[in-house]
Structures are given as C-alpha cells and as structure tokens.
Subunit: 537 residues, 2 copies
C-alpha cells in the first residue's frame, strides 16, 4: 500500500529558501581581514550569492556542472556554498592542504569547469598544472597582479565576475533528491584521493539531524563558528545546518590560531564551535598561559571535538573553562558526523563522564555494528570489532572509482550495505562506541592486541607531553612492539615508562621512545602514522 | 550527476530499532488504572510489542495489510504504534468520537483486517455494524463478558492473542520509503471522513523535524505526555518523535481531566505536553481554583497548544504557572504539525510576545503562501489570503478518493502541489502566520470582512466568558452579520457589546448574542460552527 504524500524532494532549496525568507536579519561575522572581523546579514549575503549565481549562469554553467573552491572559511566560500548548489551545480571543495599533483588530480577527476580561489592562496593554486576541464578561475581578495590565464582557463576577479544580472526567483529545486550537490575528496593514506559525492537528500537529512536537540542542537539562537575547514567534509555540515536553523555564522577565514579565534568569538558572540582536538588544545593552552583573554570565551556554550579522538584531559580542561565539550566521530563518507557522545538521560555521574569521552552513539537514521571475523560483536563494552556504518547519508561507493577497486571498503548483509570505517571499537549495551584503534594501527605483540590510541591517550595525560604517536615496529620475539614518538619537554623515556606502568599492563609499555620537535601530520591534521611507520620501520 | 549515497529508506524501523537498542532503560508511565499511574520501561514495552507483532503474524497479517485501533492513549495503543508498522502493516487509528456509521465507513474504506479495542469503549465499539473485511477483534482491558463474535469477526482477549511466539530480529524495513505506515481520517464538516495515508518517509521526516532544537526540541531528557489523542493525527506524531529521541512517555489513557492529568504529570515528572486549548484552559482554571495542586506542574517546562487557536489570555496564564506555552498550527494532512510559533532569535520583547501568539513559522521542509484570488499575497503582516502548504510530509491527495472529488483541496503551480488549508491568514516579513479566520467562517458585512476568530479571542479575554463561537447569519441590509454564541456567567449582551466596542471597530460588534450552557463541538473538540449555522440560520 502506497502513501499519498507529496513527492517533494528534500534538498538544498529547502535550506536556502528558508534562510533567505525567514532569517534575513540574522548576522554573519567574518574574520581574517586587516581591520578585524566584520558583520553583515543573511539578507545581504543572499543578495551577493544571487549575484554570484548570476555570474555562474553567464559563464554557461548548467545543473550538474562542477564548480570548485580553493579557500579557507571566508564569506566568498559561503557564497559558493549557497550559489553553486543553489543553481543546481555541484560544489567541489578542494582540500587546500593537498599537494599540487593531488589537487590537479581531484580537479580533473571531478571535471570542475570553474574554480573560486582565495587570493591569499594564489601561490599554492598557481603552482597547480590545471587540467583542461577548467574554463574559468575566479579570484577574490587582495592581490595586486593576476595573469590573464592560468593554463587554459580565463582568470577573473570576483568583483568583476558578479557585475552582471543576479539570479531571480527561488533557488534550484532538484527534480530528483539524489542529484549531487557537492563533492569532497578523502585524503586516504594510500593511492589517489577518493570522491565522496553528497546528494541534495543526504545533505538536507544530515543538516536536519544536526539541528536535533540531542545531536548538535543547532538553533536560531546560536552563533556558530565552524573552525573545521569548509574544504574538509563540508565543515562537518555546519554551514548548511546553520542556514537551515537560521543560526548566526562566524567564519574565521585563515585565523584559526588562538588569538584569531578569540577575536572572532568575541566579535560574533559565538555560542557553538567545532574543530579538531589540536585547535582546542592550543586554545586552552593559550588561555591558561594568559596569551589570550579567557573572558572572550564567555559566550561559548559548547564545542564539538572531532576528526580524531580527544583526550579526557582536553575534555576536562574545556569544562573548566565553562565550555561543554561534545565529543563526536565522523568520516567524510558519513556526511560526515556519525556518532555523538551525548550522555544518556538517566545515567549516573560516572556513566555521564564515561560516555562523554567515548566516540558516542549513532546519529538518528544510522545503524552500526562492530564486526570481528565476519560476525557482529556483542554490545558488551569489551568485545572488539571493526566499526561499520549504514544509513541514508552514508556513501554506497566512491564516485568514479574503477569497478571493484573499492570493494574492500564495504561489507554487504541483508540488503544492507555497510561502510567499513577501519576503526576498531567496542560498543556498550547502550550503544556507546569506544575507539580502540585504527585497524592498521593496532599493535599485535606476542599474539595480544595493544591499542596505540590507549597508549597515546595515557601519554597525553602526562603534563610534559605535547604530542605523541604510537606505532607498531617489527620485533623478532613478539612479532610487533609499540614505539612511542613523543614531542615533550623535560621528561625522558624512563619517566614516561614509569608513568605508563601505573596505567596499563606492563607488557604494553613501549620499550622504545623517540623524542621529536613535532609529530608529523597529514593534510587534514591527523597523525601521519603511514610516514612514521616508513621512517621507523 | 547522481550522488553515490546509500539508497537506505527512511522509515519507522530507524525509530523502533533505535529506541529498542539505545533507550531500553528509559521509563514509560501509563495512567488510567484504578491503582493510579504505573511505570515500565521501553525494554519491557518492546518485548510486549514483539509478542503483539507475533500475534499479528499468527493471524496471517502481511505487509501492507491494515490493523485498526479503537482506544485512548494507553499502553496497548502504543504497542500497536510499534508492532503494526513495525511488522509492515498499516496502522489505522479510528477516531473514537465519530458516530457508528462513520466508524463503519472508515473501517470498510481502510479495509481493516484486525481491530484492537479498549474494553472501556466496548459499548461504543459493539454498536458498530462491522464491515466484512474485519476478521479479528482483539479486546484489551477489564471486561467481564465478551461475545465470541462481532459481526463476522472473531473476538479475542489481548492477553490470549499474544501467547504465541514473539517476533524476532529487526523491525520491518520498507523496500520503498513511500510505503504506507498509517492512516488517519479527517473529520471534515461535509461528506464522509477523508483518508490521510502517511508513509514511512513522511512519519520519519516529521518526527525527526519535531526533535529539532527550534521546533518541539523533543529530547532523551524529556518526559513527554501526549494529551492529544493517539487516534487524532497520530497524537501530533509525539509518540514517534519520543521513540526516536528516547524521551520517556507518559500516557494518560482516558484521564485528560485536570485531576487525571496532574496525577500523570507528577507520577512521570512530565516536562513536555501537548493538547488543544480547552484542555489547558481547564487545567489552568483548576489550578487557580485550588482543585488541583499546582506544585504537581513544577516539572512541566513547555506545552504545545494546537488544534485550534489559543487566546493570548491562555498563553499568559500558562506562563504565569511557569510553563512555556508553544503555539502551533497543524492539520492531519501535514503529518500534522505545520507551523510553530517560536519567537525570532533577535526580536524585541514586543516582537517575542506578538510572534508567540501567532500561528507560527513553517517547520523545516515546508513552504507556505497566502493566496488571494490566485495570487500569492505579500508577506506584509496585513494582506490576507488562504494559507497553502507544500512539502514532503504534506498530502498530495486523499487515499481512495473518487477521481476529481478532492480537486478543490489542492492548487498546483510550478511543479509544486499546494494543500489548501481553508484558513485565511496574514504572513509577516519574517514568515509568521496569523490566523484571520476559516474561509467558511469569515463574516462578510456590507462588503467588508469580519474575522470571527478575532471577535472570539476578544470575548474570551472577558473574565465572565468561558466559551464562545461567532458565526455569520444572513442579514437583509448587510448580507451577513456576526452572531456570538456565548457560554458565560453573570454578564449580558449589553456589557459584552461595550467590552468589544473598546477593542474592535464598532461596526464589527455583533448585534446579536445567544447565551448557552455549552458551545457544541465536533468529534475532535473544535467549535461545531456547521451545526451552529444550521441552528441559528
């Protein structure tokens, strides 16, 4: 029996039309300028987005065509978030931290016809050998000289490009909600980046879910500062969730250092923010050292920490500043937020503390399981297995992947496709997931598993340790042993070994410690264990 | 360009599986018993629902088959909300306030194979001439004697029906999210009731939207008491939203009188409730008169008022009790909540007050317009037009309606279908809708429109007036004039006329007042203006 509900597609139009008509007065604050943060309104911003959409139409862009950005979290980047899918085109947010060859690869793979580039990134961008699909490069921001051409593409200034007629009427309404609205490439540790293509349906559904009272609770009353880059998994979908809710947005541009953030937070009265652990650790350290004024954080109610696991130390340091830390887990492939560590309603204080430091429970709409040897592990808080996720805003495959090349990324069962996350986890009886390790990073010593993440978290709790990565190194007796690469001051291996021995079984304590000035990271700021394994093998 | 997201359907399975696995410990409290409210858990409730689902399977029910309920807000009714769509069958919640002939009509029209009946309603139910489609009548609750048959149907006690094997595994996952999950009949003022068929998609999407921080913000931390009947537009979808969020539910059964409600509120620690204005007006009156203990309302944070427009008096009386009133507007055809009167984030106190008493802004996903003479009226707060609504959880048509018979309920434009609500409204520049009147209830006096709702609201603000309905009556000079039918004590027409004359233009003041003990209401508790027009024509 079929229902007789309207076949109305879910899509970006429901977000954009809503924000433009209901929330025109809400402020948007943008940092990064020489004169400090400036404030505009959604009304003014949407007028600009209509001018940009008009420019794209003048260039002959049609629904389904790809438009790329090469930019930090700026006003013009937000204009592209509105104008590109709002015109039916597909927004490819190029990761500015990729190498030139990888950038060229993703631009060609996506088939981008137009690219919007931040002038401050012109040196990096102009080093890219542009593929022939790119017809126009539009540059915004301060720059004295620009060439007329970049490869085969015409180079234009943003201000000149938007001089023509603006788009009129409602924003683009997809005929089919499964039409693409955006592309993000995952920076895998092997091979070329892989393309995740979001649909109007998945973006709307995920943004709506982020507005839930028990997820991120994004509200019209919030002032949201996405520190996580807009070129990284849609800035965790916070821009679209904020537009849907009518939350005020604060964009820090390139100023994600503690001083820059504090300036933006104070200027906009930020209530909600989101970033990787390093950003928060730096901000906490700066506030404690008196390098930034901690009262500038007074308006901040809650911050999301994701991208990699946060230590309990960091969670409690944020709480001491009067900020509620919300631990979350995600992947570009999950739109991207998949788990949120909100505590259960009727838990004890101990349960609340424990669950807040876990990776969390699944977002509404998602199913999860931990699989060990093809069998789902019981939800007992101790059995381990690979975390697998399924749901309407999880990828079924990578776009344009060669047939069969991504088969090891998925598992199928009962008409359902599961994304293999590569994370080894436990799940407790309430559904809270706890990260044990990456499948690749577990250390198998004498037939027993050692979690590199557990060792890292314990070491990070030592006051002298700033950064740490634990990797497996080959061992003739035990097959593998853990090696700790540490950035620290005033501590030696013997002391760290003693420190760990009080906290983990003695056989798990690394024999070897290497002290470095900084632990190398990937283009998205995660520990680069692939490189470390090669260096220390 | 198509995205490569999973084609995972949205549906009740995402709500039911989620609640059962994540929220098994959360309490559910049920009132109406002789010994007062009792408390169980979702874990226990889902075990019972699996027994009921097993019973339905034993009876040969297959996906798409219809199962009806004839019950107030009881535990068994909630079991049907879980077990019926959770087995792929379609839940028809029969309106117990319809007449016997209308009940028989809806049961036959839906093709119900099984009906679950509350024993307390056996007298009303057994008076129905059962259509032949009904094979089984299952009765729960205290009743001494039951016949073996009702019409052609076998009569069974609920406890006996669930003795067989329980359903195992996950709940039913629809192959197509547009499959029907439930049917509600609208009690129109003309003709037979019309069937609104909800889909897995529409119910999930609407429930997810109700969990939004800026809609009803239904949270795991809430204790939700749906006073609005579960046989009326899915109890405004609060049961499914609560299951999705893991909110504790409190079901008052037939005890929707002030004493019964207060008992349930206190027993469950209710934080959130929802009902029509009359329920809240009675509760406020009882609390003020000392008939109920007002401290029993201490846990209540916010209540939704919908079904018909609430007076500003009622809104402020609830606020005085420390309860935040949330004014909402809906229709069975909109799943059912369409508008919510949450104030804007940056409004002044005056704007906040004004918007809170409006019908509200559209829920995420919905579009609205006010149409006057085929043209959308401007959003200026004064131009009037018929409210029309469009969106993925709004009906495209009525189920099983004869071709063309419902054409006047819809308007089409730009590939979009609009539901004609029959409400005349203004829309202000922020999108807040204010009800002027029902299209049928506007009074056209000397070529000028008089809003019956405005007159009613002013009269309700008079301390002596308990209930009032204003209707148009024919007039030889002015075509139509307003007539006020009033339930009041210690006031006469002259005083009410003076009272109104201070508040509305003098020509709008009714010439005629009729005093009655009670204003007649429809089966869903709304003023029965159709009957009044016949009586006073």
């Amino acid at each position: 029996m079929r229902a007789v509900m309207q076949p109305e597609p879910m899509g970006l139009h429901q977000i954009l039309d809503r924000c433009e008509t209901l929330f025109a007065d809400r402020p948007v604050t943008v940092g990064g300028g020489a004169a400090g943060p400036t404030t505009t309104t959604y009304g003014a911003l949407f007028a600009e987005a209509r001018a940009f959409a008009g420019a794209l139409a003048e260039l002959g862009l049609r629904p389904g065509d790809r438009v790329a950005t090469f930019a930090p979290n700026t006003r013009e980047h937000l204009l592209a978030y509105i104008a590109v899918p709002g015109s039916g085109s597909v927004l490819h947010t190029v990761n500015i931290r990729l190498g030139s060859e990888e950038i060229a690869y993703t631009v060609e793979h996506a088939g981008d016809r137009v690219v919007l580039v931040d002038a401050a990134l012109w040196p990096e961008w102009s080093a890219v050998t542009l593929p022939t699909c790119v017809e126009h490069v539009i540059v915004y921001g301060d720059i004295d000289e620009l060439p007329e051409r970049h490869g085969g593409a015409v180079v234009t200034r943003f201000a000149d490009s938007i001089a023509g007629p603006a788009r009129e009427g409602r924003w683009y309404r997809p005929a089919d909600e499964n039409e693409a609205s955006g592309i993000c490439y995952t920076s895998g540790t092997t091979g070329w980046p892989k393309a995740v293509v979001y649909s109007h349906r998945s973006v709307y559904l995920h943004a709506l879910t982020l507005c839930g009272a028990d997820t991120f609770a994004i509200s019209e009353h919030d002032v949201v500062c996405p520190v996580v880059p807009m070129f990284h998994a849609n800035s965790w979908n916070l821009p679209y969730a904020s537009l849907l809710a009518g939350a005020s947005l604060v964009l820090p541009a390139h100023r994600t250092d503690p001083a820059g953030l504090v300036e933006c937070f104070a200027a906009g009265g930020v209530t909600f923010s989101a970033a990787v652990p390093t950003v928060w650790a730096n901000l906490v350290a700066a506030a404690r050292a008196g390098d930034v004024d901690p009262t500038a954080l007074d308006s901040v109610q809650r911050v999301v920490i994701g991208g990699s696991a946060a230590s309990e130390t960091l969670l409690s340091e944020l709480a001491e500043l009067g900020i509620e830390p919300v631990h979350a887990w995600g992947m570009t492939e999950c739109s991207p937020v998949g788990l949120i560590a909100n505590p259960p309603a009727d838990g004890s204080t101990a349960v609340t503390e424990e669950t807040k430091s876990s990776q969390g429970r699944p977002m509404p709409g998602l199913e999860l399981r931990a699989v060990e040897g093809d069998m789902p592990a019981p939800w007992d808080g101790t059995s381990i297995g690979e975390l697998q996720i399924s749901g309407p805003y999880v990828v079924a495959d990578y776009y344009g992947a060669e047939s069969g090349s991504t088969a090891d990324k998925f598992a199928d069962s009962e008409e359902r496709r599961w994304l293999r996350t590569g994370d080894v986890v436990t799940v407790d009886r309430r559904g809270y997931v706890r990260l044990v390790d990456r499948t690749k990073d577990l250390v198998k010593s004498g037939g027993e598993w050692i979690s590199s993440v557990t060792l890292e978290n314990h070491l990070l709790a030592h006051p002298a340790v700033r950064e740490v990565a634990v990797i497996a190194v080959p061992d003739p007796t035990w097959d593998e042993r853990p090696l700790a690469i540490v950035a620290a001051r005033g501590v030696d291996a013997a002391r760290l070994r003693d420190f760990l021995a009080d906290r983990v079984p003695r056989w798990q304590v690394p024999d070897r410690f290497e002290f470095v000035a900084e632990v190398p990271k990937t283009s998205v700021g995660k520990l680069d264990k692939k490189r470390l394994r090669t260096e220390y093998a």
